[in-house]
Amino acid sequence: MRCGVVVFPGSNCDHDVYHVLKHVLDQEVRFLWHDEPRLHGSELVVLPGGWSYGDYLRGGALAALSPVMGAVREHAERGGLVLGICNGFQVLTEAKLLPGALRPNRGQRFECRDVYLRVERADTPFTREYAAGQVLRMPIAHGEGNYEHFPYELDRLERDRLVALRYVAPDGALADEWNVNGSARAIAGLANAGGNVFGLMPHPERCAEEVLGNSDGLALFAGAVRGAAQLAGAGR
């Protein structure tokens, strides 16, 4: 099983994701340079957080047009696993690999804090190690995480069960004050119809080791690694 972590010049969570895959989950990982349209055989591709190209225009806007994203798109279309975290989620929406858009936070400020997430779908490779309805604690750190789409599109997302994670109160109930960036329908994470492309604003890699006081995010990577291994085993 090979994992690839995409490196845009302004990625700054690339090493953090690498660390979890390599040192916590003991996987083979390599960095994938933004300027090369190649995934070097990666079966799980992670688009990490950061400011891919400075992102002064919109988070992920320029990155969506980068050479590596052509290869990521092909990989996704073949059913390969793609995970976008924070800026990576923004890149996936800008690249139209996931629907909707991530706009500036409701409060117009960067927010770095812990949030609570309810697992809405436990049947994607990324959430398979969780139980539906389970509440996770995860850090966020973003200025543009306010998920938006047209109302009828939001209805469709719900109908198609694309919403994978929602911001909730610690007890798992929906609550506006816990929807810290103002996302429509409290959407924190989305999957595509096939479940193989997954994006979320919170940072699972920042809560994947007990030494940091929280390991709720580890199972997301573990699930993705297992899912990718199975796909590879199935001789895709």
């Binding site: 225009l57 047009l65 858009a101 706009r103 117009q108 789409h149």
Partner: protein, 84 residues
């Protein structure tokens, strides 16, 4: 040729930034303001002289990069031809 592109959140989409600015304006005394929409503005020196070509170029740039058409609308204005 110079041009200006203006990008605004689409009408159906919430504009929290505009709202925030409106209430900030009210706070410092500009209470008459009924609505604020906040967008982005780009001034470009296109490096082409033909208006038709410039328009096409701008539309392509907006679709591809300057606006996220899922949630944003854009407007294009050609400015007076470049003096240089």
């Amino acid at each position: 040729m110079k041009a200006r592109v203006t990008v605004y959140p689409r009408k159906e989409i919430l504009d929290p930034q505009g709202k925030a600015i409106q209430s900030a304006l009210a706070r410092v005394g500009f209470r008459s303001v009924r609505e604020v929409r906040a967008g982005k503005s780009f001034e470009l020196d296109l490096g082409v002289d033909d208006a038709q070509q410039a328009g096409d170029l701008l539309a392509a740039m907006c679709e591809k990069l300057l606006a996220n058409t899922v949630v944003e609308d854009y407007e294009i204005e050609l400015l007076a031809a470049d003096a240089s």
